[in-house]
């Protein structure tokens, strides 16, 4: 999927959805896509993009160079919490390129600087240590794993305060339609609760527990 195709057909629709709606929809469709343990490193904005760009030269610079505006850079460092693989210089380079954010299966650093200039960083944690001499980039723009979910170029990633989900491009339409249906239903439930309807009644009416059954 091209960036343009994604922007025109999907970005707005996906931006309305929380990762929770998309995770529920993935459950309904029967595809694994929710990532456990990767969180925003500060109160950073939600990010949504198609296109997995794995980040060599110094770690990540080729990925940034290859990224298109709106892409999310995904770094597969196998959940390693001992070595940094993303920091201020890369964040600034990515921001200048229009990259929407970075999702690191591992650790990041320079979060204070990223917050200051507003580049969203999602990771498992932070470390002060440099990557230099400890880890090296293997390749970029290829199939990687993140939180033990496979993700490749063209798949979709959405990250917010609740976590991160991957939507394989082959099931994007199906997942998005299911997520929208779940979203509308939950909005209606919230509205009824706001009006003072008893939660047991709302639960029964909307069959909340069985909502994800096919």
């Amino acid at each position: 999927m091209t960036s343009r195709h994604f922007d025109e057909g999907y970005r707005k629709r996906l931006e309305r959805m929380a990762t929770t709606n998309l995770s529920d929809a993935l459950d309904k469709v029967g595809v694994r896509g929710a990532i456990i343990g990767i969180r925003p490193m500060y109160e950073c904005p939600k990010i949504t993009a198609a296109g997995a760009v794995k980040s060599a030269h110094h770690l990540g610079v080729r990925a940034i160079d290859a990224a298109e505006p709106g892409d999310v850079i995904i770094i597969d460092n196998r959940g390693d919490l001992h070595n940094n693989c993303w920091g201020e210089i890369l964040s600034m380079g990515a921001k200048a390129k229009g990259v929407a954010g970075v999702v690191v299966d591992g650790a990041a650093r320079d979060i204070d600087a990223c917050r200051e200039f507003g580049f969203p960083v999602y990771a498992r944690g932070t470390v002060p240590l440099t990557a230099r001499g400890r880890i090296m980039e293997e390749s970029f723009n290829q199939v990687v794993r993140i939180g033990d979910v496979q993700v490749g170029p063209g798949d979709v990633i959405v990250a917010d305060i609740n976590g991160v989900v991957i939507i394989p491009q082959g099931v994007l339409d199906e997942v998005l339609a299911a997520a929208e249906e779940i979203f509308e239903k939950e909005e209606a439930m919230v509205e009824e609760l706001r009006r003072g309807v008893n939660i047991l009644e709302v639960d029964r009416k909307y069959a909340y527990e069985s909502m994800l059954k096919k």
Binding site: E138, V143, V144, R145, D148, V149, Q150, P168, G170, V171
Partner: protein, 219 residues
């Protein structure tokens, strides 16, 4: 099948993982693999690495592969399953066939299954543990004979892998001769200390004479 002659590997076969680990420390090379241990006590494997890497299955599921036919006798199969302990990538069929082909042993950054057959055949296999659950439809082959990681240690095809009851160490093939030289020296020094102790010398004096506390230090 008989393994091809590989003099360097034969020389490493006389050593244990401990001496080689100290030699790697002395040369500033990261090579010990935390968390990987022998499933069959008393077995040992030393050989050139044949590397395999797995990744999680996607929507279209791939297979775990049939690469054992391509492994040379005497090689150690190194499976990088990303440290996963919920899905196995080695079992009885692989064990029996690896034995038949004269493969030296297996290292998994992950887990295996079919322990009765593995114990019965006394196949040298070094893993993070064992569980019954298959890796099929959970993980798929990502690459063969590529650089992989075992416990965050880089393993490249043809690196020399040593495995014994103490654990697993990886020797980069392009540094193997220096590592061997240092390991032999360390091993001989330790033997000398044991002899001195046997003759009644105090530990303090024997270690001092042999320079024990700095054996592994970078020179």
């Amino acid at each position: 099948m008989v393994p091809e002659k590989d003099e360097l590997v034969e020389l490493f076969q006389r050593l244990d993982t401990t001496a080689v680990s100290d030699a790697l420390d002395r040369l500033g090379i990261k090579g010990g693999c935390p968390g990987i241990s022998a499933r069959v006590p008393g077995t040992k494997a030393v050989g050139r690495a044949f590397t395999v890497r797995y990744r999680p299955c996607g929507v279209e599921k791939g297979t775990v592969g049939d690469f054992l036919d391509d492994v040379r006798p005497g090689q150690v199969v190194v499976l990088d399953n990303g440290g996963r302990t919920h899905a196995t990538v080695w079992g009885d069929i692989m064990t029996v066939y690896a034995r038949k082909r004269g493969i030296a042993g297996t290292v998994i950054d992950g887990v295996c299954r079919d322990m009765p057959r593995i114990l019965e055949s006394r196949y040298p296999i070094f893993t993070r543990g064992h569980i019954p659950v298959t890796g099929k439809d959970r993980v798929e082959l990502d690459g063969l004979n590529i650089p992989v990681a075992v416990s965050e240690v880089l393993v490249r095809p043809d690196d020399i892998v040593l495995c014994d009851d103490t654990g697993v160490v990886v020797v980069p093939h392009d540094r193997a001769e220096e590592v061997l030289k240092a390991a032999v020296e360390i091993d001989e020094t330790e033997q000398r200390i044991l002899e001195m102790l046997d003759k009644g010398m105090s530990l303090r004096e024997a270690r001092k004479q042999a320079g024990y506390h700095k054996l592994q230090s970078r020179k």
